[in-house]
């Protein structure tokens, strides 16, 4: 029986067929909504880095005196910086929300022999986050 053979196919033996390997696309993270959400979650690290830089600038300005601090305040209020800050704030909030859900999966906490459900661990983390944020805000504002 004549089986048509593709001209570009290299010869194969009956005991080792020519496997087809798909190369993973550079845009693999756009092909699926769950992958895209994952990459967005990973990109929150940029918001975290931005926050650290802002914090360092703030400390430096405070150390240099009231004039330097005023200059920093003006720079922080400029439209470009505000835009970057808003984006970073959204990223950082997304990090917080996803982090508590992830870390609950990674931890196994046992009480009286039974495993504490992950929902309880993440819920208590969220509450703790609100409390800590409140305390920090109070410390800064009083």
């Amino acid at each position: 029986m004549n089986v048509p053979v593709s001209r570009s196919a290299p010869p194969h033996t009956p005991y080792h067929p020519r496997w087809y390997r798909t190369r993973v696309s550079t845009y693999w993270w756009m092909l699926q909504w769950s992958y895209f959400r994952f990459v967005l979650r990973e990109l929150t690290s940029l918001g975290v880095a931005y926050s650290c830089v802002i914090l360092l600038c703030w400390i430096r300005a405070l150390s240099r005196g009231p004039e330097a601090y005023e200059v920093l305040e003006k720079r922080l209020a400029s439209p470009v910086v505000i835009l970057l800050t808003v984006i970073s704030l959204l990223l950082v909030l997304f990090h917080t929300i996803t982090w508590f859900r992830l870390s609950a999966d990674a931890m196994v906490v046992r009480v009286g022999g039974k495993r504490v459900p992950g929902v309880l661990i993440s819920a208590s983390n969220y509450v703790a986050w609100l409390v800590v944020s409140g305390i920090l805000a109070w410390l800064l504002l009083r």
Binding site: I54, L55, F100, L141
Partner: protein, 117 residues
């Protein structure tokens, strides 16, 4: 005995940085970079903030909040570049960029907070 890679150290720093940034960074960024400059909330006076930051406990706290999250960024961004852009062959360059950046940030924050006056 198999050789012990340094990966667990970086992962631990990533985790610690993730916890610190999850708890403390949102409120700090919101207040310092949004609410105060835009006057949504009346910012405290320069003297009040200066006195608050100069406390030893504040300096320690700010050092932790400025350094560990940078290591969190370093580890996470490194893997985002590896997987997202598939440039793992540039791994030496990426590692220096990421962890080097985090080390620089840590040194800068230590210097600033130690010499805060």
């Amino acid at each position: 005995m198999a050789k012990r890679p340094i990966e667990p150290l970086f992962w631990t720093l990533f985790s610690g940085g993730g916890v610190i940034s999850a708890f403390f960074v949102p409120v700090l960024l919101f207040l310092i970079a949004l609410a105060f400059p835009l006057r949504w909330i009346a910012p405290p006076s320069y003297e009040a903030l200066h006195n608050l930051v100069s406390l030893p406990l504040s300096r320690l706290f700010l050092f932790v909040v400025c350094s560990l999250p940078l290591f969190h960024w370093a580890h996470r961004f490194r893997y985002t570049l590896y997987d997202g852009l598939q440039i793992k062959h540039l791994s030496e360059f990426i590692n220096v960029l990421c962890y080097g950046g985090a080390i620089v940030g840590t040194v800068v924050s230590a210097y600033l907070l130690w010499n805060f006056h």
